[in-house]
Symmetry: C2
Subunit: 268 residues, 2 copies
Amino acid sequence: MRAAIVGVGLIGGSVGLALRARSGCSRVVGVGRSPDALEAALRRGALDEAATDLAAGLRGADLVVLAAPVRACIGLLPAVAAAVGPDAVITDVASTKAEIVAAAPPGPAFVGGHPLAGSERSGIEAASADLFEGATWVLTPGGATATWAVERVAALAAGLGARPVVMDAATHDRRVAAVSHLPQAVAVALAAAVPVEALPLAARGFRDTTRLADSSPEVWNDVFATNRDNVVAMIAAMEDVLGELRAAIAGGDEAAVAAIFVRAAARR
Amino acid sequence: MRAAIVGVGLIGGSVGLALRARSGCSRVVGVGRSPDALEAALRRGALDEAATDLAAGLRGADLVVLAAPVRACIGLLPAVAAAVGPDAVITDVASTKAEIVAAAPPGPAFVGGHPLAGSERSGIEAASADLFEGATWVLTPGGATATWAVERVAALAAGLGARPVVMDAATHDRRVAAVSHLPQAVAVALAAAVPVEALPLAARGFRDTTRLADSSPEVWNDVFATNRDNVVAMIAAMEDVLGELRAAIAGGDEAAVAAIFVRAAARR
């Protein structure tokens, strides 16, 4: 199998490292705009070869993994579809799925994908062949997607140590809004809400709860923009629970405070 | 030096373990209501001896460390003051300081204390002699507290590997509301806000951001009740930032989203 990876950052680079280290993939080609990033990915052993020209990099690929930011992937889809043969499967690794599935070229070959693995770090330096070990990898085929295409992406995910799970794109986006996009928004809002003069007293609780706030706003604007309604609804739900907890504390209603703790612990 | 520890849970047990392992303390007596908890603390090596009777356990102590929940400590203060001699220093390790400092018996011997170390776990099983290594240990003397008393507690903190910092109780309580009590409230509200059906897609971001939600509501009702105004104000501030972020996402204002990320990253 010949694989092409478009975008060689944390996720794309990790796919390359894992494909070369753990799967029977014969050739991994990296495609990107930055020769420096491609050079770094080659040096790290994530790629067999690199190309800055999309059509050249994709020529002869059996599997194309789009690992650029989601809106960039959506913009690239027509050119990617034009560059590969009819038997090539195209997938992506972006955090939101409904918009890219809706934008996919007609035909059997596109399968949306989202490995639930990542880091607040970014770039090829943070990439790892083990990033997907034990992770859930959601696959979101569209209405026209062929079973053989889904199976090829499921085999990719399983070969990289992940557990492939098929789900429709809308369900995926609603659920990750809750367990991924909301924690990101909360971590950022929490860090931004804390007065600077209090920081010398910060300990592990603050550090863990705000760890995600180190993530890049560019990546997250992409996610929020392509999952807007779900994210806005989840932030509003979080504001409601915070308001409920605040009122219970302000009113000295310790049973109500305890009830919210019990609800929270049941999710852990 | 002879030390008595009232309450042998996570913090009291760790003080005992650390005093016996690292300091020149000649004798560590544990005082508690539960013979089982005292027996477990003896078995773990956190104590030289144990007492269920407060006056008996405190007899001859040079240093008393109150490590029960804060409202229990406040209730015990008169009996503790009556049980020890005039040269004994009394301190505590509770998360809030203004109420206990205000309730302290008149005289030079009480020094409020708060080691900024802990865990979402509780009980003697989670105790560790290294818990305070590298931590800040805030000391909040009252108006009548003697310098020699502050110095004795500072020496305790330093002997256990922590960095003692003197601060007035009101400033302490305002700052920990921001960096400790707010993250706790946020972690609990976040976990409680997430729909159960989304949990199978939860990954490391959700787990880290909600780790504090495993903490005990009993402990936290104590903290919230004794730092109510500061905690309520910080939760309201968090709701404001979340509302600001939600509006920026809803309106597609990516510069405003990025500005909140930048403010957040500056606190990390």
